[in-house]
Symmetry: C2
Subunit: 171 residues, 2 copies
Amino acid sequence: VTDPLSFDPIREASAQWEQRWGSEPVSSMRAVTSIMRAQQILLARLNELLKPHGLTFPRYEALMILYFSRRGSLPLGKLGARLQVHPTSVTSLVDGLERSGLVRREPHSSDRRATLASITDDGREVAKAATKALNEEKFGTEPLSADDLDAVTKILATLRVDAGDFVLEAG
Amino acid sequence: VTDPLSFDPIREASAQWEQRWGSEPVSSMRAVTSIMRAQQILLARLNELLKPHGLTFPRYEALMILYFSRRGSLPLGKLGARLQVHPTSVTSLVDGLERSGLVRREPHSSDRRATLASITDDGREVAKAATKALNEEKFGTEPLSADDLDAVTKILATLRVDAGDFVLEAG
DNA sequence: GAAGATTGATGAATCAATCTTT
DNA sequence: AAAGATTGATTCATCAATCTTC
């Protein structure tokens, strides 16, 4: 998007930080900035890979949860809990998937407040094709090794537990 | 935002992935999902910490680049290169900082196409106070250790180089 | 009153198109 | 033509307020 800088901006910031505020908070600042930037890079790569399939990554994630669900459908609230996003975001994601014909809204059989998001046959086909594309490109994580990726996953799991995403299971 | 799940959704997805598509792409899928979620958690924490100072984290990042700049001002293009965001995003960030009185737009002395973003005295005060708050709370990275944070930073640097953020310097 | 979902607002990211200046 | 910045459009995230149903 722009020319590469001749230095690492995060490394540069670390030096100035340490000079002014001591060494204690530097690791935190560096890691946060790195994660923010990595997310931005990965999201751009994923959206690029998904564009031929008419999907964005957030919509892909929602579609896959429905794909893997027992009945191929889930109440919007449950979908939001799995995605860890606001009810408003679920509405917007399902709107988009519905416009593309990959998901249908259906009434809940027993609770008339609730709405089900149900994956369509088209949705299943697109889910499979898009997943093939992402798997072949390793979800845009090149050039990181499997060991490095697993290390990141393990470390960030601690943060996710602390944020209340889920409770630790036995084993 | 919702109740904690009784299982780790990423762990759950890994199992289904491996069953269907083999073990090869699982590490990538897991790491990408983890990074996306970690970014979301950290951003929420940072915005909460910055709210008393009338800042969001993206605006804070922009403000600090100006704070550390030699003259306290930078052309919008240079600011965008440092933040690694689109020109449109720079315009929007500077708009917000200008509305808060933390930054002023000034004409470039030699190039009438360019605009400078210049940090104000208020901006410097807010930058210091906000940084104090973030440092004290370790940028919302609790309960991760400094070693874990450094490990994440190091691994993700490889990705940032690959994405062309910067070129490796000697040493 | 509380739960499930939606609408309307803001903030931040992108892209395409435009406008001025070089 | 190319560079710097802006406006207008879309997507996704949040919050506050609303509406229906439990």
